[in-house]
């Protein structure tokens, strides 16, 4: 029974998988992290834009593979940790979970729908912020503030940016 379901699901998933050039993935990941490090220095409001998270969600949704999603999330998260003064692993754990859940969800929904992308962008941003806050308080004993109204507003803004960003990234898919 299991073999049948796996055999049935696998070709369908591969058929819908999106492929990207390795250089494109690396370049986009670097740019997203660079944006977080560099651009927010000149425009402080842009520090609320969590581009590394948005691209983690995007590639996980497109690949439709939970294992690929969680490894990609872990890599982006650890890179982000390396550029913070926190111990390595905080962003890594959070983004690993985001990558895994985003890829798992992509097996059940149509990831090309802009409305669904908006909802997923909103949900995963809020989940990311909440989980980071929980881990920082529980594991590091930090007393970070978490204001729900502010987090909701920023989540909406990130979701709107995500819709347009994902449209742009769709053009970088390898065709054929």
């Amino acid at each position: 029974m299991t073999g049948f379901s796996e055999g049935y699901r696998e070709p369908l998933r591969k058929e819908r998988n999106s492929m990207f050039n390795v250089a494109v993935i690396t370049g986009i990941s670097l740019l997203a992290i660079l944006f977080r490090v560099y651009v927010s220095r000149f425009i402080p409001y842009l520090q609320y834009l969590e581009l590394p998270l948005l691209i983690t969600v995007y590639f996980s949704l497109m690949w439709r593979s939970p294992i690929a999603g969680l490894f990609f999330g872990a890599a982006i998260g650890l890179a982000q940790d390396s550029l913070s003064h926190h111990p390595l692993g905080m962003f890594g754990i959070v983004k690993t979970l985001v990558g895994y859940f985003a890829a798992s969800m992509s097996l059940r929904v149509d990831v090309g729908n802009p409305v669904l992308r908006l909802v997923l962008g909103f949900f995963f941003f809020f989940f990311h912020q909440l989980l980071y806050w929980v881990l920082a308080n529980a594991l590091l004993g930090e007393t970070l503030g978490f204001e729900v109204p502010q987090a909701l507003v920023v989540a909406i803004l990130n979701a709107i940016v995500a819709v347009f960003l994902y449209q742009l990234l769709d053009r970088l898919k390898v065709t054929g």
Partner: protein, 372 residues
């Protein structure tokens, strides 16, 4: 087991990845250590790009400002700003020395002690952690930077180096909530600990007892107790002082970020300085406008040129001329004025009459106080 791993392959990998990162995190927290290799890779990948972009951005910006907007003014401005920064630091050092010794001695001390050796650096990026005040600078171990070195601006302290890579370094700013430095107040010499508040421009002083005296408007300087910042660097001005439960609640406005935070100085070899008694440089001093020329007020003309030079001489000369007209010499009695420099004759007690035993005490005149 094999069936379980095959059935829940994705979940197994997820649990393994999370556990691996938890172990990594626990190792760092437990040993207070760092996994340097991963950081070096990430910083090595990102900071060169940031430098390139920063160079391009500043190049384009300078091109437009140089050739289209201000021509050569920008160069002059840059040179003058650099000169002003240098003069500010020299001035502050001299003020500190002048407050503790006379001018000649302080100049000698200044000549003997060279000021702190510093390296200029440019800020090239922020940290990725939310709420943290950490920046990256474009100087690293190749320039002699080491973890724990103090980072300053000509106006005050800015932060400290926390991690060093080959061509870049991470600096924890004074505004970060985890930042702390030993400080001392200017007037009352009260020791305390400066801590960041997590937002720009302000900080607080902790560990100052309620019994100790700190005034609003008083300046705090680094005390040198933390072995990071040399003594005598300005930290900030007290804006609020309140009595707490056992310790005072003191808030200060930071002086180091006055002119923004684009370029900083890293102290390679620090030199301790005394806490200046005079107000900190850069303080705005209100000067009244010069009085207007009033036609009704008679102008005192100088009487004559030559040897007469002081007001007393001119007054004496005025009376001399008046006396010549009246045939009288002002300021001289028949026997002349007594010479107060000659020693007094010893008065024997027998010579003193009973009613003259006690000298009369002259009543001091009540001085009129001019109200401002």
């Amino acid at each position: 087991m094999e069936f379980f791993l095959n059935r829940y392959r994705n979940l197994s990998v997820l649990v393994a990845a999370i556990l691996a990162q938890l172990v990594l995190l626990a190792y760092q927290v437990k040993t207070n250590g760092d996994v340097r290799l991963i950081r070096v890779w990430a910083v090595g990948a990102v900071t060169p790009l940031a430098r390139v972009i920063e160079t391009g951005r500043s190049g384009v910006s300078h091109f437009f400002s140089d050739y289209f907007v201000l021509l050569d003014v920008r160069d002059d401005n840059k040179r003058m700003r650099a000169e002003l920064d240098r003069v500010k630091m020299d001035n502050q050092y001299l003020r500190a020395e002048l407050s503790t010794a006379d001018r000649a001695r302080s100049l000698a001390i200044f000549q003997q002690h060279s000021p702190s050796k510093t390296v200029a650096a440019h800020i090239i990026g922020n940290t990725t952690a939310p709420g943290a005040r950490v920046v990256f600078i474009d100087r690293g171990s190749n320039s002699g930077i080491e973890p724990g070195m103090a980072v300053i601006t000509p106006d005050g302290i800015a932060g400290k180096v926390t991690k060093v890579f080959s061509v870049s370094a991470e600096v924890l700013l004074v505004t970060d909530q985890t930042f702390a430095a030993g400080v001392i107040s200017q007037n009352n010499r009260v020791h305390g600990t400066f801590k960041g508040l997590g937002y720009e421009g302000s900080g607080k002083i902790e560990h100052v007892q309620n019994e100790q005296k700190v005034d609003q408007g008083e300046w705090f300087f680094t005390s040198g107790d933390d072995r990071i910042f040399p003594k005598g660097r300005p930290v900030g001005e007290v804006t609020t002082v309140r009595q707490g439960k056992t310790e005072k609640e003191i808030f200060v406005t930071l002086s180091g970020f006055r002119n923004g935070l684009e370029e900083v100085l890293i102290i390679i070899e620090g030199v301790h300085a005394a806490i200046p008694d005079a107000p900190v440089t850069n303080q705005t001093v209100h000067l009244l406008a010069p009085p207007p020329a009033d036609a009704s007020t008679p102008m005192i003309q100088p009487l004559q040129t030559g040897p007469v030079s002081t007001d007393a001489d001119r007054t004496k000369e005025q009376y001399r001329k008046l006396g010549q007209q009246e045939g009288h010499v002002y300021g001289e009695r028949s026997n002349g004025a007594p010479n107060y420099n000659t020693p007094l004759k010893e008065v024997k007690p027998a010579d003193v009459k009973p009613n003259e035993a006690k000298p009369k005490e002259a009543k001091p005149k009540e001085a009129k106080q001019d109200k401002p």
